[in-house]
């Protein structure tokens, strides 16, 4: 498949390799060391690194600045952009800012509601929603124009992604929703972290039935459980998360000091299983505050070394 952008992630996917991405959360301060350290831990084991955008509405260093930091280190960031905090002027503006540093990957999201974070009294913007942001980036790239109609000098060349959650409600629209995102212009998808593999495979089958897996690259989200407590928390307190009882039990039956190791084992087993699912083009490993385990996960899943393109 011919690539449309200079994105290394796109090149790897179009060459038919399994892609691996991971993510880093920027610090709650202005020290770049935090990002540099995290990136150094994982850089040889992933094809691109997502930088989250004020995730859970907790104010952090902006994704754009952290992405630039990674770019300056010679790495490939994925700029995560939520529509909660910026209107269409700021969104287009930040896209150009990113493009000026040749950042070539963007993930378009709505963003968690601000009531979850540290500024619950703030306004939210949502001038566009995540699908309209996908449309906007594609418009800027392919038509070389702003939303307002004027020409862009040196249009952004970005590989555009969106998120998908096979486990959110209602299930009957999870595939139509994916179809919509593809229609809007999404070129790659990173899913919410998967624990219910049966349900995920059911979703993938419906995706394949409609041929959608040939229109978009799907990266399966994987997050290793650190403990039985974490499993219970994710199951009960995090919306849109599907954690099977069997998984919680498996961790709960493990002695406490071995639970983290068991969680990693499960993650690696899951990746091995999903590698064989037709339509899965790669993995998005989210090991929040556990970035040091990413190399181990990638290696033990047989995804190392990363292709050199």
């Amino acid at each position: 498949m011919k690539t449309k952008t200079p994105s290394r992630l796109e090149k790897i996917l179009s060459a038919g390799h399994m892609a691996v991405t991971s993510e880093c959360g920027p610090p709650r301060g202005s020290d770049p060391e935090a990002i540099i350290k995290k990136a150094e831990l994982i850089k040889d084991h992933v094809d691109a690194i997502n930088i989250t955008d004020n995730q859970t509405s907790v104010t952090r260093m902006c994704s754009l600045a952290a992405c630039i930091r990674l770019k300056l280190m010679g790495l490939d960031p994925v700029l995560q952009m939520v529509t909660r905090d910026r209107n269409r002027i700021a969104l287009q503006s930040d896209i150009l800012g990113a493009a000026s540093f040749d950042i070539t990957n963007i993930l378009c999201l709505s963003g968690d509601h601000q009531s979850f974070g540290d500024c619950a009294q703030g306004q939210n913007v949502h001038d566009l929603d995540s699908m309209q942001l996908v449309q906007t980036v594609r418009h800027m790239r392919d038509q070389g124009k702003f939303l307002g109609g004027d020409d862009i000098k040196r249009a952004p060349q970005m590989f555009v992604g969106a998120a998908a959650n096979p486990f959110a409600d209602p299930f009957e629209i999870r595939v139509p929703r994916l179809a919509k995102k593809i229609k809007a212009g999404a070129e790659f998808i990173q899913t919410q972290c998967i624990y219910n593999l049966d349900k995920f495979e059911e979703w993938m089958k419906l995706v394949r039935d409609r041929g959608l897996h040939e229109q978009v690259y799907i990266l399966a989200g994987m997050t290793p459980m650190k403990s039985a407590g974490m499993a219970k928390y994710m199951k009960n307190r995090v919306p849109g998360m599907d954690v099977p009882d069997a998984l919680v039990k498996r961790l709960a039956d493990t002695p406490k000091e071995k639970q983290a190791e068991e969680g990693l084992k499960i993650c690696i087993e899951d990746i091995q299983r999903l590698k064989d699912v037709e339509g899965v083009s790669g993995f998005h490993v989210m090991a929040i505050e556990w970035e040091e385990k990413v190399p181990e996960i990638v290696e033990k899943s047989g995804l190392y070394p990363r292709p050199q393109i």
């Binding site: 979850f116 949502h126 566009l128 929603d129 699908m131 906007t136 409600d169 209602p170 919509k180 849109g240």
Partner: protein, 222 residues
């Protein structure tokens, strides 16, 4: 209708404590229906305030009036003859009424007695919920009669977002997800295939963002 809620009495007391002759002015329409500013509420507020100030040793004249509406010139004119007896008005109409009073009686202090909340409906007595935010470009024909602007916390135009869980919104387990409702409605109307149509980027210039708005009808103007 416009739904409002009574202001805490302490706030109203703070506003009027330095006045001596106050008129509590109610409204017979929206605020009557949501039991915040009608004739009954005028009576209760006036009685409570009289008792409060008497207890403080302050003799205050606190009178009661309720107009049909406070958003039309004709009705506000009805108090023209008595307004000079007072040195302040507490209007328990919605924010529109308070402001129209202030415009009409330029030198008369007017204080709000309710917090105006939203445009909504009476789900049952004692429960009013938001339905409309006056975006100025109604898209209800596309969403099966359910508004994503006023009923979705993120006003997504192509929803639901990833946080919708068991038909409820991520911000509150008791808040129904608007897009869940829209999907169900489209199914009931046999229009589920329309779900995949992308909603165009919204023109917010007719919303609050575009500045204070007006509607002009030359065909009915004098």
């Amino acid at each position: 209708m416009i739904v409002a809620d009574k202001k805490p009495m302490e706030e109203i007391i703070e506003d009027i404590k330095n006045h001596d002759k106050v008129l509590i002015l109610g409204c017979n329409e929206c605020v009557t229906v949501c039991e915040a500013g009608g004739k009954k509420e005028v009576g209760i507020l006036a009685s409570a305030l009289r008792m409060y100030f008497l207890n403080q040793g302050k003799e205050m004249k606190i009178d009661e009036e309720t107009l049909e509406r406070q958003c039309d010139h004709e009705y506000l004119e009805e108090i023209r003859n008595i307004i000079d007896q007072y040195d302040a008005v507490v209007s328990i109409a919605c924010g529109v009424g308070v402001q129209f009073m202030a415009e009409k009686y330029h030198a008369m202090p007017v204080y709000p007695g309710v917090n105006t909340c939203f445009m909504g409906a009476t789900e049952e007595r004692g429960l009013w919920t938001e339905r409309c935010q006056g975006c100025g470009q109604c898209i209800l024909s596309r969403t099966g009669g359910i508004c994503p602007v006023s009923r979705c916390a993120k006003r997504v135009m192509n929803g639901p977002c990833g946080g919708s869980s068991k038909g409820m919104c991520e911000i509150n387990k008791e808040l129904v997800c608007a897009w869940q409702l829209i999907v169900e409605r489209l199914k009931a109307l046999d229009r589920f295939d329309e779900y995949e149509e992308l909603s165009p980027i919204k023109d917010w210039s007719t919303d609050r963002a575009g500045g204070p708005r007006k509607v002009v009808r030359e065909d009915v103007q004098p």
